[in-house]
C-alpha cells in the first residue's frame, strides 16, 4: 500500500466517522431539546409561587417533558394528579421540611464540577451555598427544618479508574455549623471502636429530637444501619445490610433498601421495626435504588426508572406493612418531599 493510498483511506474514514459522531451529538441535542417541550397528555404544570412552610404539599423534581423539566414543583398531597406548580429552581435532588429546603445542583462543565448544595428558606431563596465534592445522591431535612444532610458520590480520586466513595455532610441551619464529612465521627461497630480508610456514610434520616439521626455505613464490603448523635459526634451500629434509611413520622420504623444479593445492584424495599429489629419486605418486587419517603405512617413513596426513558423516574407508593400492591403516584417525578 502506498502512503498516498493510506492517507486517502484515513481521510475517507475521518469524514465518515466525523459524520457518524456528529450524528450522535445532533441526535442527543435534539432529544434534549424535545425534553423541554411539553408532550401531549403529560401532566399539567404552570409557574407559580410555593412556600416550604405551607402544609399539605408534595414537592418533587419534575421529570415530565416540558419547559419545567428538572425544576422543583409541588402538587397538593391529596390530589397528586392535579396541576403542578413549578418553581424557577432546578435541582438534581431536593428535599424540604418546615420552611427549610435543600437543593443539590450539578452544572458539569470543562473546568469546574459545579456541584453544590443550596440551603433554601421558605420562599425558596438561597440562604447558603455549599460546594460539593461530587455528584449529588441523597438529601434530607429534619422534620423541624433545623438540620439538613446530603450525600454525594466522589469519583476522580483515582486517575482513570472506576472507583467511587461517598461523602455525607450535616448542616445545622440554626447555628451555621457544617459537619463536612461524617467519617470524622467516632464509630462503634458491633460494640467495638472502629475506623478504616474505606468508611463511607450515606443516606441520613433525622429523628424528631434534633440530635439523633440514622445513616448507612459501608465498609469492607458490608453495610450497617447506624444510629448517630450530632452533639456527641458518634455513631453506633444497630444491624447489617441496611441502606438509605428513612424514619417513619412516628419514629418507630425505618424503610430502607436491602441488598438482595451481595455484590449485585438489586435492592428490595424493606421496613425494620427499631424496637424488635424485625424486618418486613414490602410488596414492591422491582429493585429500588432510592431513599424512600413516608407519605404517612402507613405508606412510603420512592422513585423507579421510567421504563424506556433513560434519565427519567416515576414516583410509586406502597403500603409499609408488606401488604397491598405498588401504585403509580406521579409519572415523571423524583425526590419526593411531603410537607405534612
Amino acid at each position: 500500500m502506498t502512503s498516498r493510498t493510506r492517507l486517502l483511506i484515513l481521510a475517507v474514514a475521518v469524514v465518515l466517522l466525523a459524520g457518524l459522531g456528529t450524528g450522535f451529538v445532533l441526535h442527543a441535542a435534539d432529544r434534549a431539546d424535545r425534553r423541554t417541550r411539553p408532550r401531549a397528555g403529560g401532566p399539567p404544570v404552570v409557574a407559580g409561587t410555593v412556600s416550604l412552610d405551607r402544609p399539605g404539599q408534595l414537592f418533587f423534581v419534575d421529570m415530565a417533558p416540558g419547559p419545567y423539566v428538572d425544576h422543583v414543583v409541588s402538587v397538593p398531597a391529596d390530589d397528586p394528579g392535579g396541576t403542578r406548580t413549578a418553581t424557577p429552581l432546578k435541582c438534581e435532588r431536593f428535599f424540604a421540611a418546615a420552611g427549610t429546603g435543600v437543593c443539590l445542583q450539578s452544572d458539569q462543565n470543562v473546568f469546574t464540577t459545579g456541584n453544590r448544595a443550596l440551603i433554601l428558606d421558605a420562599s425558596l431563596h438561597t440562604v447558603r451555598t455549599v460546594p460539593l465534592a461530587g455528584i449529588p445522591s441523597r438529601a434530607r431535612v429534619s422534620a423541624d427544618g433545623r438540620f439538613a444532610a446530603w450525600t454525594v458520590f466522589v469519583g476522580g480520586e483515582s486517575y482513570g479508574a472506576a472507583f467511587f466513595s461517598t461523602r455525607t455532610s450535616i448542616l445545622d441551619t440554626r447555628t451555621g455549623t457544617l459537619i463536612p464529612n461524617l467519617e470524622t465521627f467516632a464509630i462503634t461497630l458491633n460494640g467495638q471502636q472502629y475506623h478504616a480508610a474505606d468508611d463511607n456514610f450515606w443516606g441520613v434520616t433525622f429523628a424528631a429530637d434534633d440530635d439523633t439521626f440514622y445513616a448507612t455505613l459501608g465498609t469492607a464490603g458490608h453495610t450497617y444501619l447506624m444510629r448517630g448523635s450530632i452533639s456527641r459526634r458518634s455513631v453506633t451500629s444497630l444491624t447489617e445490610n441496611v441502606e438509605c434509611p428513612s424514619l417513619s413520622p412516628d419514629g418507630t420504623r425505618i424503610v430502607f433498601k436491602r441488598r438482595v444479593l451481595a455484590g449485585s445492584s438489586l435492592w428490595h424495599l424493606t421496613v425494620i421495626d427499631l424496637r424488635t429489629l424485625k424486618e418486613t419486605p414490602l410488596a414492591e418486587h422491582r429493585s429500588v435504588d432510592d431513599q424512600a419517603e413516608w407519605l404517612n405512617n402507613s405508606t412510603v413513596a420512592y422513585a423507579l426508572p421510567t421504563p424506556g426513558d433513560i434519565g427519567s423516574d416515576d414516583l410509586w407508593s406502597v403500603p409499609a406493612d408488606g401488604g397491598g400492591t405498588p401504585q403509580l403516584l406521579l409519572p415523571g417525578a423524583s425526590s419526593p418531599a411531603l410537607l405534612p
Binding site: G21, Q108, Y159, G160, A162, N200, S265, I310
Partner: protein, 426 residues
C-alpha cells in the same frame, strides 16, 4: 550499549529540543503509535470522565462497590499484560497483538450504548482493561524496536507526552458534548466509539507490521529466529540486569503511593476546596505532558538510571513538602509539578532502560515482566498505605512511605550502578 557506527546524525551535533531534531530522532513508527495512543486516550478518558455522572444521574445507580472490582481489574490487567507481551513475542507480531488490544477497547464503546445496569457495565469495563493489558507491552516493544537505543528515552518520552495529551483532551471533549446535549451520554459513547475506531485504523495503516530496524540500530534484528516459547521466555529471568531493573522497579513501586492518596493528602494538608479536587489529576498530567520529552532526551544523554532515580527524588521531595512545608497557596502547584515530574522521569524511561537489556526476540515479554511487577507492587502499596493510614493516621503513614522510598531509592541506586559489561543502561 554504545554504538560504534551508525548512519544517523550524531547526537551532539545540535542542542536537543528543536522540532526538526525531534523529528529526526523519533521514528515515524513512534509518532504513529503516539498518535494511536493519543486518539485512544481521548476516546477512553472521555468515557471515564462521565461514567460516574452517567451511572448516578443517567442510570440512577449507586456505583459503590466498584472499588472492589477495580482491584480485581487491575490484577487481571497485570496478568493480561504478561499474556500480551508473550503472545506478541511468540508470533513475532507485536502489531497484531497491540491491534487486538486496541480493538477490544474500541469494541466497548458501542457496547456501552446498550448496557444499562451495573453488571454488564462491569463486564464492559473488564473487557476494556483486558484490551489495555493486552496492548501495553507489544506497543512498548514496537516503540523500542523502532528506535535506535541512544534515542529510546526520547522516543518513549514523545509517546508518553502524546498519550497524556489525549488523556487531557478526553474529558474536555466529553463536557463539550454534554454542553451541546444535556444528558447526551449516548452521544459521548457514540463519539468515543468513532474516535476509538479511528485509533485502530491509524494503527493498521501507519504502524509497520514487522518492526523495521531503525537507522543505526544494531544488526541483531535481521537473522531469522527460532520460535519463542515459554521456556525461552523464562530465560529472561537469568539476565542479571533485567532482574535488577525488575527488582528495583518493584521495590520503588512498593513505596509509590497511588495518585488518589497523593491528592487526598494534598487536600488534607491545604484544605483545597472540594470543587477543585477533581482538577488535581490535571495538574499532574500537565507536568507529565510538558516534561516527558525533555526528560526522556535527558535520560538518553546523561543516563537512564540517573533520570529514573532523580524522578523518584522528585517524588520524595513531593512527600517531604506534603509532610513539612507550610500550607501556602503555592504548595499544591509544587506538589503536583513534582508528581508530574516523577511520572515524566520514570514512566517512559523505565521501558527504555528495559529495552536495552532484553534481547529483541523477547522484548514484549521482558517489558511485560517489569510492567506487571511494578503494577503489582503499586497495588500492594495501595493496600498497605490504606491500612497504615487507618492505623496511624495520614502523617505517619506518609512518613513511613517517604522513609521507605528513600531506602528503596538508595538501594536501587546501588543495584543499578553502571557496570563495566556492555549491558549497561546508559
Amino acid at each position: 550499549m554504545y554504538l560504534a557506527d551508525r548512519a544517523a546524525p550524531a547526537e551532539g551535533a545540535a542542542p536537543s529540543g528543536g522540532p526538526r531534531q525531534l523529528a529526526r530522532a523519533v521514528s515515524s513508527t513512534v509518532l504513529a503509535l503516539g498518535a494511536v495512543s493519543l486518539i485512544t486516550d481521548v476516546s477512553s478518558e472521555m468515557v471515564t470522565a462521565v461514567l460516574p455522572l452517567y451511572l448516578v444521574t443517567g442510570l440512577g445507580l449507586s456505583p459503590l462497590g466498584f472499588g472492589v472490582l477495580d482491584g480485581l481489574y487491575n490484577g487481571v490487567a497485570g496478568l493480561v499484560q504478561l499474556v500480551g507481551g508473550h503472545l506478541a513475542d511468540r508470533g513475532r507480531n507485536h502489531k497484531l497483538v497491540a491491534g487486538l488490544g486496541y480493538g477490544f477497547s474500541a469494541l466497548c464503546r458501542p457496547l456501552l450504548l446498550i448496557a444499562h445496569t451495573l453488571t454488564p457495565l462491569g463486564a464492559i469495563l473488564a473487557l476494556d482493561r483486558t484490551g489495555k493489558g493486552l496492548r501495553t507491552s507489544p506497543r512498548d516493544a514496537l516503540i523500542s524496536l523502532s528506535s535506535a537505543p541512544e534515542h529510546r528515552g526520547r522516543a518513549f518520552g514523545v509517546h508518553r507526552a502524546m498519550d497524556t495529551a489525549g488523556a487531557a483532551l478526553g474529558p474536555i471533549t466529553a463536557f463539550l458534548i454534554l454542553r451541546q446535549a444535556a444528558n447526551g451520554y449516548d452521544a459521548i459513547f457514540g463519539v468515543s466509539g468513532c474516535i476509538a475506531a479511528l485509533g485502530v485504523l491509524v494503527l493498521i495503516l501507519f504502524v509497520p507490521g514487522r518492526p523495521r530496524a531503525a537507522a543505526g540500530a544494531p544488526a541483531e534484528a535481521a537473522p531469522a529466529r527460532k520460535r519463542v516459547d515459554l521456556r525461552e521466555a523464562a530465560t529472561l529471568l537469568k539476565l542479571p540486569r533485567l532482574r535488577a531493573l525488575a527488582g528495583c522497579s518493584m521495590l520503588l513501586g512498593l513505596t509509590t503511593i497511588s495518585d488518589a492518596f497523593v491528592y487526598l493528602l494534598l487536600q488534607h494538608r491545604t484544605g483545597i476546596s472540594d470543587e477543585w479536587f477533581p482538577l488535581l489529576p490535571l495538574g499532574t498530567a500537565t507536568g507529565f505532558l510538558l516534561l516527558a520529552v525533555p526528560l526522556g532526551a535527558l535520560a538518553d544523554r546523561i543516563g537512564r538510571r540517573t533520570v529514573f532515580l532523580a524522578g523518584h527524588g522528585a517524588l520524595l521531595l513531593g512527600y517531604g513538602l506534603l509532610l513539612w512545608a507550610p500550607a501556602g497557596p503555592a504548595l499544591p502547584f509544587l506538589v503536583l509539578a513534582l508528581h508530574g515530574t516523577f511520572y515524566a522521569a520514570t514512566d517512559g524511561v523505565l521501558p527504555a532502560a528495559v529495552a536495552d537489556v532484553v534481547p529483541e526476540a523477547l522484548r514484549g515479554t521482558g517489558l511485560a515482566l517489569v510492567g506487571t511487577g511494578q503494577a503489582l507492587a503499586r497495588f500492594l502499596c495501595s493496600l498497605a498505605f490504606g491500612a497504615a493510614w487507618t492505623a496511624w493516621g495520614d502523617g505517619p503513614a506518609l512518613t513511613a512511605s517517604a522513609v521507605g522510598l528513600l531506602c528503596c531509592a538508595v538501594t536501587a541506586g546501588v543495584v543499578l550502578r553502571p557496570t563495566r559489561t556492555p549491558q549497561g543502561d546508559q
